[in-house]
Amino acid sequence: MALLGTVTVSHYLAVGAVLFVTGALCMATKRNALGVLMGIELVLNGANLNFVAFGSELLRKDNLGLDGSLMALFVIVLAAGEAAVALAIALNFYNNHMSIDIDQADDLKG
């Protein structure tokens, strides 16, 4: 219980940073387009966690406390919209390449 009692904003920030880095690595290494999309969700949620933690009463008592949560809500809506566009784009890519392996996206260079 002592551990739970000392949770501060920096703990949330650390988890957020881990999520962010994991997501970025996932985007850099995954070959499957859907895997990359999952990486994006992780990255966005890492940022979201930051917003909620910074907006919480743990950091400052005097704030209205809604800005951070509001931003997090907007980001969740945005991530849903992006997922919808992503599926259309991945489907189009599949129709042209017969695969969603984005390593195959190497025709254009010069």
């Binding site: 990359v36 990255v43 931003m71 980001v75 025709d107």
Partner: protein, 520 residues
């Protein structure tokens, strides 16, 4: 945050655009012929244009998350004009079947750009940039359905999302340091700008530069600054000329406007680390863009590297703004906005001309497709030459004045004996001048191909009057601005200064942050 009737009323043009875009999406599905939808897209844009012109030059107003000032006015006018020009360009270039989706997406982007240009809140800023990004993916997707196009869309989509996430992560730190997302407060509400001195003294203030660097990285993608540039050549090559014109302009406008807002309001007075970073980025960006453009033979790849190089020039203005924020000298930022306007006009004209030229029934792809254009379509060749010369910065044309205002700002700081970064700006000015010389080579090569190579036997005309009009308007504008640059520069000049002055006016009940001198 307070949202009153006033705030809602000044959002009428943006709201009208979003509503008409939704109507286009829904009603377009019911109409199979879809021949008169471009007209339906033009009407809300014209309405927005009238509203923007009517609001022009109104007194500065801070209304919660929105701000009404000259930067906002300039940005809104530029976005609406971009929308109208894009409708003209796409009128006959889009496939009939996809017309409503294309024009609906375009209206959304224009609304997003208008929101970014007057955002006074980080939430608004983020949502505005996303309202630009998401329809952009859609427009790319609608361009062509072949292999190259789908690859371009996937590349742009994933990299743009990563950039948005970086921007968001940076914004979260800025929010955390200040406890508010409001940039400039009004009344009892304090904004980030009002809390800056307090933040810099607090223990956690060290995280603010981290947040700002992440924000710069996220927006650097939108303006194709090195090292976030590598998608641009591939994406431009893979899509259509009309889409490439759009990609070269809309995200850049959004990125530059957002950077202006952030630099004016969120950056601490002595943020030399940021200025040094931006100077290095500017030099690398323009050098990479110009040197790589030298051996390109694909017209859209050439223009992609050209747009990267121009991002480098734009960053000079940002560096000037960052380095002289303490002295209130924000003409660096207004030089940046001036340059942005000129770049947008010249780029739209260039891509309009490329879209006009057909070769063997296909869109112009290679530089050779332009061979002998001066004999087959003399007016278009002349107007394309004007755009090229303006992009190169040849004296009588508008582009020259854009480069002159940016470089002279850098030179001014380089000769300012008291400025701690004068060495950096001396290097920047020299690098800029060298780059302008390199850039002339590839722009002139396009003109050489048009005028001195024999034409192909088959270079049919598209007979697209929309494209002709666009190219004509752009080249005439470049000549006119070149003849009288002071008029446009004056229209842009006072805004940045005004934006900085207002929050410290006494009647707003705020104290000037420490260590800041307010310009007269």
């Amino acid at each position: 945050m307070p949202v009153d009737l006033e705030t809602i009323l000044i959002l009428v043009p943006e709201g009208a655009l979003i509503l008409s875009a939704t109507a286009l999406f829904v009603l377009g599905a019911a109409d199979r012929r879809r021949s008169w939808w471009p007209v339906c897209a033009t009407l809300p844009l014209l309405f927005a244009l009238v509203m923007v012109v009517r609001d022009w030059g109104r007194p500065v107003l801070y209304s919660g998350p929105l701000i009404q000032d000259a930067t906002g006015d300039t940005g809104r006018l530029l976005s609406v004009v971009l929308g109208l020009v894009m409708v003209l360009m796409a009128w006959r270039q889009t496939r009939r079947k996809l017309a409503t989706e294309f024009f609906g997406g375009l209206l959304m982007v224009v609304a997003g750009l208008m929101l970014v240009s007057r955002a006074n809140d980080l939430v608004f800023l983020f949502l505005g940039t996303e309202l630009v990004s998401i329809p952009t993916y859609m427009l790319l997707f609608l361009g062509k359905r072949n292999r190259a196009s789908s690859e371009a869309t996937v590349k742009y989509f994933f990299l743009s999302l990563l950039a948005s996430a970086l921007f968001l992560y940076g914004v979260s730190f800025v929010y955390g340091m200040s406890g508010t997302t409001l940039l400039v407060g009004s009344g009892d509400l304090l904004g980030i700008r009002d809390k800056l001195p307090e933040i810099m003294q607090s223990q956690i203030g060290g995280l603010l530069p981290l947040g700002l660097v992440l924000v710069l990285a996220g927006l650097g993608f939108k303006i194709t600054a090195v090292p976030f540039h590598f998608y641009a050549p591939d994406v431009y090559q893979g899509t259509t000329n009309v889409n490439a014109a759009f990609l070269a302009c809309a995200p850049k406008i959004a990125g530059i406007l957002a950077l202006t807002r952030i630099v004016v309001n969120v950056v601490p007075a002595e943020f030399y680390l940021g200025a040094k970073l931006v100077i290095v980025l500017a030099i690398v960006t323009m050098t990479v863009g110009n040197v790589c453009a030298l051996w390109q033979t694909h017209v859209r790849r050439l223009m992609a590297y050209s747009s990267i190089a121009h991002a480098g020039y734009l960053l000079i203005g940002l560096a000037l703004g960052l380095a002289s924020a303490s002295s209130g000298g924000l003409h660096g930022l207004s030089a940046m906005l001036f340059y942005l306007v000129l770049y947008v006009v010249a780029t739209l004209g260039t891509f309009g001309a490329f879209a006009y030229v057909r070769s063997r029934g296909e869109e112009a792809e290679h530089l050779d497709d332009l061979a002998g254009l001066s004999q087959t379509h003399a007016p278009i060749a002349a107007m394309l030459a004007v755009c090229m010369l303006s992009l190169a910065g040849i004296p009588p044309l508008a582009g020259f004045w854009g480069k002159l205002t940016l470089f002279s700002g850098a030179v001014e700081l380089a000769f300012d004996m008291t400025h701690p970064m004068r060495g950096w700006f001396a290097v920047l000015a020299v690098a800029g001048a060298l780059n302008a010389a390199i850039a002339a080579a590839y722009y002139l090569r396009v003109i050489l191909v048009m005028y001195f190579k024999p034409p192909h036997s088959d270079s049919p005309v598209t007979a697209d009057h929309g494209l002709q009009t666009v190219v004509a308007i752009c080249s005439v504008l470049l000549v006119l601005i070149g003849a009288d640059p002071g008029r446009l520069l004056d229209a842009i000049e006072p805004q940045a200064v005004r934006a900085r002055q207002v929050p410290v006016e006494p009647e707003l009940g705020m104290n000037a942050p420490d260590g800041e001198q307010i310009p007269e």
